[in-house]
Symmetry: C2
Subunit: 176 residues, 2 copies
DNA sequence: ATTACATTTCTCAGTAGTGAGATAAGCGAG
DNA sequence: CTCGCTTATCTCACTACTGAGAAATGTAAT
């Protein structure tokens, strides 16, 4: 089964074990919080559900989602600085080193020095890496598409647009 | 920084390293796939961005998101069979045992036998666990609410409704 | 009752990462 | 030039899980 972690905050009407409100606050805030918490649960579930399909698909080739994401971004955008890849696929700094190491060990990716900046290094697909992505990508795109069929394509665009705002705002906001 | 794993599939116009299309397919499918892949990226990013705020908030009390999710669901719904908690917070079967063990070690949760089914066990908050959730929840709800401010509350409801369809469909679909 | 199967939790070896700090290089002001 | 700050990658000890399978119990059909 698919698996991700998220809170459950659906207080369905009065069946909650703790209905008493200790601090009465503004009704607007209450409504806003309810919407936000509900969306958080649903967002987590939707992400988990889709991710499990994506994961199951890439796992067939012995890759993790993070590995596949790297291969894919290098395939579609060409060689890229490690830091750039890191920001794109959202792993930690240690993570990108680790993942590129592993992909290098598999012969799918290689590091290249950067002439302009001797601290920096490029990640680039090797020919076998390129061949692998070319082979895997169509089926993967199809798996994602199938998994997304719960929503019509035009609704998908609406959701995407809204989630983009949401994500940008949250990413921009400094962590507490 | 926040961190999650997801593919990057944004082929912005023609700067892609691989623009040649090998197999010409139906334009509808092409459009559908583009929408689906784009949504997958954006969904992943939005989830990661919000999750990092949620994570930073609960981490202040030395809890993981999964632990907090368990405490919260037990707080709001009362004692619950382990399997039920597992399905709600979406962890593996091993995960729920492990997490409840850890919360038990922290004195926040206890197991109770089930009279009707001797295989099954309840998870329930201890008084300290209940007190902790009562103390943490308001600030946590606030953190989530703040993180979600990229979208107006009514838009949040629209997105939530759509994501619910998406998630239910994907969760129902058997994995390949 | 017996057999076969399903469900619930637990076990545990394994893994995919994280994150804090180290190292090295570039960058700008004085 | 050189001091202080920033940026890019790497190191490594650590962790929060996963997932496959075991054990125990329930359930149903013959």
């Amino acid at each position: 089964m698919s698996n991700t972690t998220h809170p459950d905050t659906s207080r369905s009407s009065d069946e909650s074990a703790h209905a008493e409100v200790t601090v009465p606050r503004s009704p607007e805030l209450e409504v806003e919080q309810e919407a936000a918490l509900r969306l958080w649960v649903i967002l987590s579930r939707a992400h988990a559900a889709i991710a499990s399909h994506a994961h199951a698909d890439v796992a067939r080739s012995g890759l993790t989602l993070a590995e596949f994401a790297i291969l894919e971004v290098l395939y579609h955008r060409g060689p890229m600085l490690l830091g750039e890849v890191q920001r794109r696929i959202l792993v930690s700094s240690g993570g990108i080193t680790f993942l590129v190491d592993r992909l290098t060990a598999k012969g799918l990716v290689e590091r290249r020095n950067c002439d302009k900046d001797r601290r920096a290094r490029y990640a680039a697909l090797t020919p076998p890496g390129e061949a692998l992505v070319a082979e895997l990508f169509p089926a993967h795109a199809d798996a994602i598409t199938q998994a997304m069929r719960g929503l019509a394509a035009d609704d998908q665009q609406v959701v995407a647009e809204m989630l983009r705002s949401l994500g940008l705002h949250a990413a921009a906001k400094p962590l507490p």
